[in-house]
Symmetry: C2
Subunit: 464 residues, 2 copies
């Protein structure tokens, strides 16, 4: 779809004001710019119009009007994404779901929650925990990202190791098709196989197939006991081998988060002091209902880690210590920016057994190109965030080459180029490295079923 003309935009704006009222639109330059970027390092592509619908009917109305005026629509949540998925790269409307932020229901009996897409993930977590329930997916930005965005990107997080990703918790949705038609897909029950798994297709579709306006999520009983330990290593390769050994021994913690020397250095002393000479560490967390059993698993995990070179196992003694440890982990991405002027991050996944090799090869690629590579991430499920730190924009071609080489290695090792951030704009050019032309062609055909005119989040995901 082409960038809309001024005339198209003007008439579209007028129709939107008439339909939704002027307080449902933003068009000051600051807002247009704010809604033109996310948490990727892809810069800003300003929106032409920002629309803030309050109801499903309004979302539907916006899509109908946009289509009528041939103006592209890019949906967004909190713009916390890392792949440019919510950037209006072809201009037009950014449709934000931020005003649709009601938690409509939390059912202890049925173990489900029904929410609007603009609910902040962390708000739902806290609300269900207050009722003894558990919503496991915990993307790093849970404090401000929204469930609608989590669904668009099929967000993961540390606990995916034991509990899976967003996809596993979406039972049903109210879904607005690109032409404005409102459908109900999925269900409220845990099981159900009536028809094609439309929910499966729509979760992770990166805003290219329509918009979720109501989401029914599965909940779990809240584990009554959680224990957290920091395993300290002198070297990241050693730590990676310990992670593999822990999993191969049949222990299934809920997180196994790895940080290399640079990642540790970036956050050390800011709220949490790492033991001196920490060359790498693993943040391990075990949960369950019986304290002795949870402690038993954690002890077993610690033993295996020590057999594989852990110098020290540091146990969080209370919720305060635990929170400090996690805060350190959560701020790695931001803190790494403090170490260099520029940072670009990968979101590679390899089969768990290949983690040590992947880390070796990422470091080697960096070395060969004279770049600094910091590695951290969800080592337990093979999802590594390799970050390249660099000082000058001139180095960018070299950095892109490194990212490309890392992607090739991940695929060669049986992995994928994105574990949880999505393709969006960031990895559009890399996707053909992983997926064959026939697979890409099939996805193009599916996109056409939903959005024949291509005005829903154009320019994303599928290579042109």
């Amino acid at each position: 779809m082409n960038r809309p003309t001024k005339q198209q935009l003007d008439s579209c704006r007028a129709a939107l004001v008439e339909a939704l009222g002027s307080d449902a639109l933003k068009s000051d330059p600051d807002a247009l710019s704010d809604y033109g970027r996310d948490e990727s390092d892809l810069g800003t592509t300003p929106a032409d119009l920002v629309v803030l619908p309050r109801t499903t009917a309004e979302v539907s109305r916006v899509l109908k009007i946009a289509r009528e005026h041939r103006v592209p629509v890019t949906p967004c949540g909190a713009r916390s994404g890392k792949s440019g998925g919510s950037m209006p790269v072809h201009g037009g409307i950014v449709l934000t779901l931020e005003r649709m932020n009601a938690i409509k229901e939390i059912s202890t009996e049925d173990l489900v929650a029904v929410v609007e897409p603009g609910v902040v993930t962390g708000d739902l977590m806290k609300a269900v925990e207050a009722k003894g329930l558990f919503y496991p997916p915990d993307p790093n930005s849970w404090g401000w990202c929204t469930l609608g965005g989590n669904i668009a990107e099929n967000a993961g997080g540390p606990r995916a190791l034991k509990y899976g990703v967003t996809r596993e918790y979406v039972l049903g949705m109210e879904w607005v098709m690109p032409d404005g038609e409102v459908l109900r897909v999925g269900r409220r029950t845990i099981k159900g196989v009536a028809g094609y798994d439309l929910v499966g297709l729509l979760v992770g579709s990166e805003g290219t197939l329509g918009i979720a306006t109501e989401i029914t999520l599965q909940l779990l009983p809240l584990p009554r006991e959680v224990q957290t330990a920091l395993l300290v290593f002198s070297d990241v390769r050693q730590a990676a081998r310990a992670v593999s050994a822990i999993l191969a021994a049949g222990v299934l913690p809920r997180t196994l988060e790895l940080m290399d020397d640079l990642a540790v250095k970036a956050v050390d002393g800011k709220g949490f002091n790492f033991p001196p000479e920490t060359g790498a560490c693993v943040l391990a967390e075990v949960d369950g209902n019986v304290p002795e059993a949870v402690f038993g698993e954690l002890a077993r995990l610690g033993e295996i880690a020590e057999q594989h070179g852990a110098k020290e196992t540091w146990l969080a003694q209370d919720e305060g210590q635990r929170e400090k440890l996690w805060a350190a982990r959560r701020t790695v991405s931001i803190a790494l920016r403090g170490l260099a002027k520029h940072k670009l991050s990968e979101d590679l996944v390899v089969p768990r057994s290949r983690i040590p090799e992947m880390i070796d090869r990422c470091k080697a690629i960096g070395q060969a190109l004279g770049l600094t590579v910091a590695t951290y991430g969800h080592a337990g499920d093979g999802n590594l965030h390799a970050n390249i730190l660099f000082e000058s924009a001139d180095e960018r071609p070299k950095v892109d080459e490194a990212l490309r080489q890392m992607a090739v290695v991940a695929i060669e090792l049986g992995g994928t180029i994105t574990g949880e951030h999505g393709i969006g704009v960031a990895k559009k050019d890399l996707l053909p490295l992983e997926q064959a032309p026939a697979v890409l062609a099939l996805q193009r055909k599916l996109k056409q079923v939903f959005d024949p005119e291509g005005f829903m989040n154009p320019g994303k995901f599928l290579p042109d």
Copy 2:
């Protein structure tokens, strides 16, 4: 697609013999009839030809030849399905995957298995358990059903309560499109969000979108401890309320299987003697790694059950007792046939809190129509198999009316008409009760992307 003509079939047969050799075909009347039925009560629709490919290339070849000669193809596994999904209702070729039955890999390091579609589910379970690993999905027919069939139907089973259904374990597939093109979808890693979730769309597509020829499955570490108890009640409504109470209390057993008085009567004394005056029972199983913790959860569950009217809790003392108890549960479906000449079964699901109400209303529907209704199933996840027993084929219209009324009630209570058996032929006419015309239309369009000519498993699932 129309039924093929004799001429089309003859030329298709000749081409298949030339391509695959005559030992890849069966056309004796017994075989054509055998491959024309499954475990539903829908009778037999004989195949015109049975083809037994040995490789992906041969599967692709068969589809190309069939398409060229305009002969429909119905894929099948072990024909253990309950909705007629593998019945060649428009005649033509039945393509059986039974010769593709190799377990290609079991990786302890990566926690994955790679299998061909004809592998019997129970064979994989045993093979991975021998390595300390666990493949949780356990459809009732695990002793003879195949993984390819499980994927086509997105099979469930008792353990779905804690571990989810087949869908949750399929990471990647080699997939032959209806036109014979071979694709790779998904991946080998636990996480991955590159592109649309094609695996999500294909699992549960009931053989209408193509054929899986290689499947990469996620495995878990095998829980080191399993304990099993039988909770005895005088009445099924009481038992259902106890199930709800157990779940609401935050206990998450791996199974909570319900059997009403008729189901108990059908299997009593055949290997396992139920306590006298068992009016209903719940088979509860808890797993974990620490014996004390597992026993603790089971004890807690037993207490809640007793508070809700359980007369007795009977604990399996060893693997032998456990196996007897499960054998009783697994044979309910077959044993119920012994109580009456005919039997038709539902596969309804309701939100967990509505289980008692659903059972009440199923019994009431039966009573009003003068029919005997036996209820059993996976009460923990709201998936009930309501069975109608009847003596004379004359009663069939009344039985159909009862099934329809039960489906309406399940939907009214927020549920679905099929939890694990699929739509197939059996529930094709009921699907519009649950899904709106726009949702059905969307699925038809998706089907067309994969199979524009409609020769892949025609006559199934979507109403005409």
